[in-house]
């Protein structure tokens, strides 16, 4: 492919465009902005000094997005309240254009999108308003008035004479974005998605030490003259002196003190500023610290937040509360409000987070660097939604709402990540997004219980159908009340071939009568015996309610494990002397199954899952006791 080339009309240096459709470039020698019109190059302006660069991206960086390779050919630099950001122009392999937005190391790729309807007037946009483009619903997140700061490299259009530009940023639930760019008339619409740095597989990045990185890599505190080192360089908007606590703006040429130390009390961060560690395989450094507090029921609760910085991955946060840690990253998708069991909830990427607490958080103490203008006394309304070990948080100020996603970490994990000395502070109580050690365990136990209960049922059923119930003796006798001697012994019978229980059942013809049997099952060889008795009584009649019966004309007794051998029964019946003769049949069976042990087994099997279930519930009760939505809170 032939690239358009020429010489700079200002300084005569050779100029070559990166691709055939490029319209504008910047002379690398004299910084003239050159526009290609027909075959001529025309100087239309000069680029002023660009702000110090902290982005790892540079012209010539290559990468991939959605399986398409791209090369960075140019950029537009904007400045806004929170700092500067780059719009890197991407030339894809198929010749199409895209833009890689790099704002404080948050990355997003977008492409021009044709809107079927005219885009609204900029005054029509308000935060939260929804629009649908290309089948995706977007909500307005921010309206940014940015100042054009300059250009670099090749662009597909003329862009050099801008001053103030309005951008309306919108986001979807699944991290897609849309931007309405009012730098042109009619406005332009871009759509794309937020991306992780690693996902772009970028190559040919700007070396960390190259370029005029640093406006002030360090300076002396205006208040106490202590040396202050800047680790996030130009991204740092405020820095709190670690010696005196004075908050200062390092970007101000005079380094103005923004706020004196708000409190005489010094707080020593558990993780010292400057500590380097590795989280998720990425090196990171602690550059900022703040103590934040909330008031709940007239009690003040405080937690620590650490700001972590990585040159390519950007910023992330660590929160610390009584030995509990959460690793937090800002998310760009827009969670949807929902409800779950009477509690508020947020849906984020098809995951439901249940509302835990909403409170006004106040910054009580700051130390180190921050990429935003932080002050002691700053307030924000913080809403936490949990799905342990994750916590989705919304931090609302008058200007914006920032969503972040945190993952619970133990003190041991943090200590290992930052190679800290000693032992981490012990975790106190149960934290909002602390994963329950019992989570899912009760369900697993109940599942196992179901299997075991079925097996137990089958075992019992097999036993009930396969038990011998072997009759070993049966005889019918008649008892004559008033006889001189009522006791007698049965013939000897065999019980065996193995040890088993023995059931002795007695059936009588007793009617409105009772008969008691003194019984002994005696081993004929050893003389060992089981001594027991049964009473059979059966009454019936008629009264005003109709027919009635009471008792039964039969009864039985089950004797426990009886060894095989020769046995006989000694029987001694007894009833009223005036009773008529009573006929009865005694039947002896061995190996008669009983459901008793299977029922006991079922109860025993229930113990572990019930125990784990109670522990799980107890853990969750402790968690939700701290919530706005605890039972006690909702009772109030």
């Amino acid at each position: 492919m032939t690239r358009p080339a020429g010489t700079c009309p200002n300084c005569g240096a050779p100029v070559e465009f990166q691709w055939s459709s490029a319209v504008q470039t910047v002379c690398s020698h004299c910084r003239s902005v050159l526009v290609r019109r027909d075959l001529d190059l025309t100087k239309v302006g000069v680029v002023a000094d660009l702000p110090p660069e902290v982005s790892p991206i540079q012209i010539g960086t290559t990468g991939r997005f959605a399986d398409a390779a791209f090369t960075v050919t140019g950029r537009i630099v904007y400045e806004y309240d929170a700092g500067t950001w780059n719009e890197w122009h991407l030339l894809f392999a198929d010749g199409s254009s895209g833009w890689l937005s790099d704002a404080q190391l948050d990355y997003a790729i977008s492409r021009p999108l044709k809107s079927s309807e005219p885009l609204p007037d900029s005054a029509a946009f308000t935060t939260g308003q929804r629009y649908e483009w290309a089948g995706t619903s977007f909500a307005v997140t921010t309206l940014t008035r940015a100042h054009y700061r300059g250009v670099e490299g090749d662009l597909p259009f003329e862009y050099w004479d801008k001053t103030e530009v309005l951008f309306v940023d919108l986001a979807s639930e699944d991290e897609q974005l849309a931007t309405v760019d009012y730098s042109e008339a009619p406005p332009l619409l871009f759509a794309g998605r937020f991306v992780e740095f690693d996902a772009l597989a970028l190559k040919n990045l700007r070396p960390a030490q190259a370029g005029p990185d640093v406006k002030a890599a360090g300076f002396n505190c205006r208040n106490c003259a202590a040396a202050i080192e800047l680790r996030a360089l130009a991204l740092t908007k405020t820095v709190a002196c670690s010696s005196c606590g004075a908050i200062q703006d390092p970007n101000d040429p005079n380094i103005v003190i923004l706020q004196q130390a708000a409190t005489a009390q010094r707080i020593t961060p558990t993780i010292p500023l400057g500590t380097r560690g590795t989280l998720d395989g990425h090196d990171t450094e602690v550059i900022g610290f703040q103590r934040r507090t909330i008031e709940v029921d007239d009690e003040t609760y405080g937690w620590n937040e650490y700001l972590l910085f990585h040159r390519e991955q950007g910023f992330r946060y660590l929160s610390e509360y009584e030995g509990h840690w959460t690793d937090i990253k800002v998310v760009h998708g827009l969670p949807r409000q929902a409800s779950a069991g009477g509690k508020p909830a947020a849906l984020y990427q098809d995951q439901q987070f249940v509302g835990f607490q909403t409170a006004v958080a106040t910054t009580a103490y700051v130390l180190g660097e921050f990429p935003w203008r932080v002050r002691a006394g700053d307030v924000a309304t913080v809403s936490d939604y949990i799905d342990p070990p994750l916590m989705l948080s919304a931090e609302r100020t008058a200007e914006e709402t920032t969503w972040s996603l945190g993952r619970y970490a133990t003190g041991a994990e943090i200590w290992a990540a930052f190679k800290l000395q000693g032992n981490p502070p012990p975790a106190v109580g149960v934290y909002a997004n602390q994963p329950s050690p019992y989570a899912g365990r009760a369900a697993r136990y109940w599942a196992i219980f179901a299997v075991l209960a079925i097996l137990l049922l089958l075992e019992g059923a097999v036993r009930m159908t396969s038990a011998a119930r072997q009759p070993v003796f049966s005889a019918t006798y008649t008892y004559q009340p008033g006889a001189l001697e009522s006791s007698f012994v049965t013939p000897i019978f065999e019980i065996g071939p193995r040890a088993s229980n023995v059931e002795v059942s007695i059936t009588t013809n007793a009617r409105n009568n009772w008969i008691y049997f003194g019984l002994a099952l005696i081993n004929a060889d050893t003389g060992d015996a089981y001594d027991f008795g049964r009473e059979v009584s059966y009454y019936s009649g008629t009264d005003s309610d109709g027919n009635w019966t009471e008792g039964s004309d039969r009864d039985d007794a089950v004797l426990p494990t009886t060894m095989p051998g020769r046995y006989y029964l000694r029987v001694e019946p007894e009833t009223e002397k005036t009773s008529p003769p009573v006929a009865y049949t005694i039947t002896v069976r061995r190996d008669v199954p009983s459901p008793l042990f299977y029922l006991i087994g079922l109860v025993v099997l229930l113990v572990p899952p019930v125990f784990v279930w109670m522990r799980e519930k107890g853990f969750e009760r402790l968690r939700w006791n701290e919530s706005d939505w605890s039972d006690s809170a909702t009772d109030d």
Partner: protein, 61 residues
Amino acid sequence: MRGLGYLIFGLLTLGSAGFADYRGWSLVRPAEVHNLPRSIRDNPGSYRALYRGSPHYFGGK
């Protein structure tokens, strides 16, 4: 691995329940008498039941 202990415990419980039933175990035992004389077969009236008139064992179903 969580739940494996419970599974093993459960299988042991199943085995114990089946074994107890197979062997005819009981939670209560009737009174036991040892070394009764063989003469009881010839003279049943000479045996005195331990719980005569006061049956303590009702291991019925």
